[in-house]
């Protein structure tokens, strides 16, 4: 410390000036970020506070005001009492449906995507490039285009209106993306690794299991988050290929909001919407940082 001041006293005064500007800039930036954060959080705040109000309070009070009296009545109704048409069982059974669709859908599409990516990246075969281009093309086909052919397919397979049917649809639609993720991740792995393993006597699955899977965690997280969000948030496939008992939560939410007669129960709608969005939020909070890491992960040095 003293040394530095002895050597260059003038440099010290200059940095104080710079320091002030730097601090001002920094705090200005924080203030700006804070404002943006507020702006984005406002809708969530309105949803949460509205869901905790009674209908009376909503009618009389202001939209952005905090609840005068906190009540969880709306949450209870949304969970198990709200009407989605003629039934009034709340979101509970539909949340369960969504889980039954999403978990196998995510698992199957991730596993098959990993195997596909492994083949495309490391076991090049004749026509691989064309195949891969076609699979990529599959990523960009709009949902609406496949509705009718898919309905016919499901009918032929005897899966129409069932949860396995919806799982199938989501797996097929997600495969393009999961294949792309894993392929791009595995391409960065040197081909000599597979060759070494072949000479060591390992076969196709053994190499995948012992060498590729252990380095795949970041890209598995990416695939799981992506697929879970897609499947959970899907509405169109859900509304098209389900029937009364197999609807996912997004469809049920729509029905709750649209089928109320008379006074709109905004508090119940808000609570239901939060309930429906909660799992995806949770996935992001828990695994979000791995998502970023996985998307930018590079080659593995042997």
């Amino acid at each position: 410390m003293t040394d530095a001041t002895l050597i260059s006293p003038r440099a010290g005064t200059r940095t104080t000036g710079q320091k002030v500007t730097r601090l001002a800039l920094r705090y200005g930036l924080y203030a700006l970020l804070f404002l943006f954060a507020l702006y984005y959080l406002l809708p969530l705040f309105v949803m949460v506070s509205t869901s905790l109000k009674s209908l009376d309070e909503i009618r009389t009070g202001s939209l952005v005001a905090l609840p005068r009296e906190v009540t969880f009545e709306a949450w209870k109704t949304a969970w198990s009492g709200a009407c989605t048409g003629i039934q009034c069982e709340g979101l509970k059974p539909y949340l369960w449906n969504s889980l039954l669709i999403a978990i196998p859908g995510v698992a199957i599409s991730t596993i098959i995507g990993a195997l596909n990516g492994y083949v495309f990246a490391q076991w090049r075969f004749r026509g691989a490039n064309l195949m891969f281009a076609l699979i990529l093309f599959g990523c960009f086909i709009p949902f609406q285009v496949v509705l009718l052919p898919m309905a016919r397919m499901l009918g032929l397979m005897g899966l129409a209106g069932s949860i396995p049917g919806l799982i199938f649809v989501h797996v097929v639609y997600g495969l393009g993306f999961t294949t792309l993720f894993f392929r791009n991740y595995y391409v960065t792995i040197p081909m000599e690794l597979v060759r070494a393993a072949k000479i060591d006597g390992a076969g196709f699955f053994r190499i995948f299991w012992s060498i590729f899977l252990p380095i795949s965690l970041p890209i598995i997280v990416v695939s799981v988050i992506w697929q879970f969000t897609q499947i959970w948030n899907d509405f169109l496939f859900g509304v098209s290929f389900s029937e009364a008992g197999t609807q996912p939560v997004t469809v049920a939410l729509n029905n709750i909001v649209n089928s109320t007669t008379g006074v709109k129960a905004y508090n119940v709608d808000m609570a239901a919407a939060i309930l429906a969005a909660l799992p995806t939020l949770l996935v992001y909070v828990v695994a979000g940082k791995y998502f970023i890491r996985g998307l930018t992960a590079g080659s593995v040095k042997g």
Partner: protein, 365 residues
């Protein structure tokens, strides 16, 4: 003895591109075969064909008397060390080395014993629990060697195993590989584009260019009697001097006439030369050109040449001159009296001379 590896009329193409053309090589048990050639000449491809990692387009490969055409890499009784080492990134060093045995269902006790033996041999015991990412380049190289050694194969294949190491470590590992070869007495095929590595390690060298074998021979044969201009130029450092010359038959032998900068042509007489065409390229290694008063012998012929550059290199000094329009390097003693810009008496050892045809580069003597 039956050859351990026998390659007959091997062809390899990728689509329409012919990579390897009519390769014929055989090695005896205990041989150290080095494949050498410029980048892209197909050395790795040939090694991969031997390993069964690439299907061959034509010909046959036999290992230990057994035809390999339909045999998969794991059943060829080979082990391979790759240029990038290709260590399994998530496995410890010990697991890397034992993976092959594990896959083959070797029992745990044997695995442990082998691991211990190889680790001791390569002095990597302290590293066994580390991941490849936590090793230095030289250590990774040893682990890769260890993975090959535990297999105890009929044939070792090495693809430029030292090219990622720094110069000093490369020389050290080169010596170790040579020692290893001597103690194991194993048969090896070793790819490199470093001709010094080739000379020091090989019992037999294959020089390749553009997918075609240029010459097969012992290091001494390749060095002293290169089969063509390419081999002459490629093997040896500094490279062989290749000097355009005119040959004329005369009573005592053949007169070799070389243009000399700023003076009369230099005339050497080779009493033992065969019949030569009028235009030849004369090949002489730098160590076969000496300072006249230092070394003289029967086959030496002395002539004055102008010295262009003097490059001391420790033990030797390289003296550059210009003959036949080409720079010529002579390897001389450190105490040479050569001075740049001054004439010096050079002694040419015609006992070691090579003659090549300028049109197609083939050897003439």
């Amino acid at each position: 003895m039956a050859p351990i590896l026998d390659i007959k009329n091997l062809y390899k193409s990728y689509g329409d591109v012919k990579i390897l053309k009519d390769i014929n090589v055989a090695i005896e048990p205990g041989d150290f075969l080095v494949l050498v050639g410029p980048s892209g000449c197909g050395k790795s491809t040939l090694l991969n064909c031997i390993a069964g990692l690439e299907p061959i387009t034509g010909g046959a490969i036999t290992i230990a008397g057994q035809d390999m055409t339909e045999v998969s890499p794991k059943d060829r009784n080979i082990a391979m060390v790759f240029q990038s080492y290709a260590l399994y990134p998530t496995m410890s060093v010990a697991k890397n080395i034992t993976f092959g045995m594990k896959v083959r269902g070797v029992d745990q006790a044997t695995q442990d014993a082998k691991l211990k033996e190889v680790a001791a041999q390569l002095q990597i015991e302290p590293l066994l629990n580390r991941r490849p990412g936590q090793l230095s380049g030289g250590q990774r190289q040893r682990v890769a060697m260890g993975r090959a050694l535990v297999r105890d194969p009929a044939l070792f294949l090495f693809d430029e195993p030292l090219s990622n190491l720094d110069a000093k470590l490369r020389v050290e590992m080169r010596t170790e590989i040579k020692k290893l070869h001597q103690t194991l007495g194993a048969s090896m095929v070793y790819v490199t584009h470093d001709q010094i590595e080739a000379m020091t390690l090989a019992t037999k060298i294959v020089v390749m260019k553009g997918g075609v074998i240029q010459q097969i021979g012992t290091p001494a044969e390749i060095y002293n009697r290169p089969a063509n201009l390419f081999v002459a130029d490629f093997m040896g450092s500094p490279a062989m001097n290749l000097i355009p010359a005119k040959a004329r038959k005369n009573g005592a032998g053949t007169q070799i006439e070389i243009a000399r900068k700023g003076g009369e042509p230099l005339v050497l007489v080779d009493p033992t030369a065969p019949d030569l065409p009028a235009d030849v390229i004369l090949g002489l290694r730098p160590e076969n050109i000496a300072q006249a008063d230092v070394r003289t012998g029967e086959s030496y012929q002395v002539a004055d040449c102008l010295v262009d550059v003097v490059e001391p290199a420790g033990a030797d000094t390289y003296v550059m001159s210009n003959l036949g329009g080409k720079p010529v390097t002579a390897r001389m003693h450190a105490e040479t009296t050569a001075k740049a810009g001054q004439p010096l008496s050079f002694a040419f050892d015609l006992g070691k001379v090579s003659y090549f045809a300028p049109e197609d580069g083939r050897r003439l003597n």
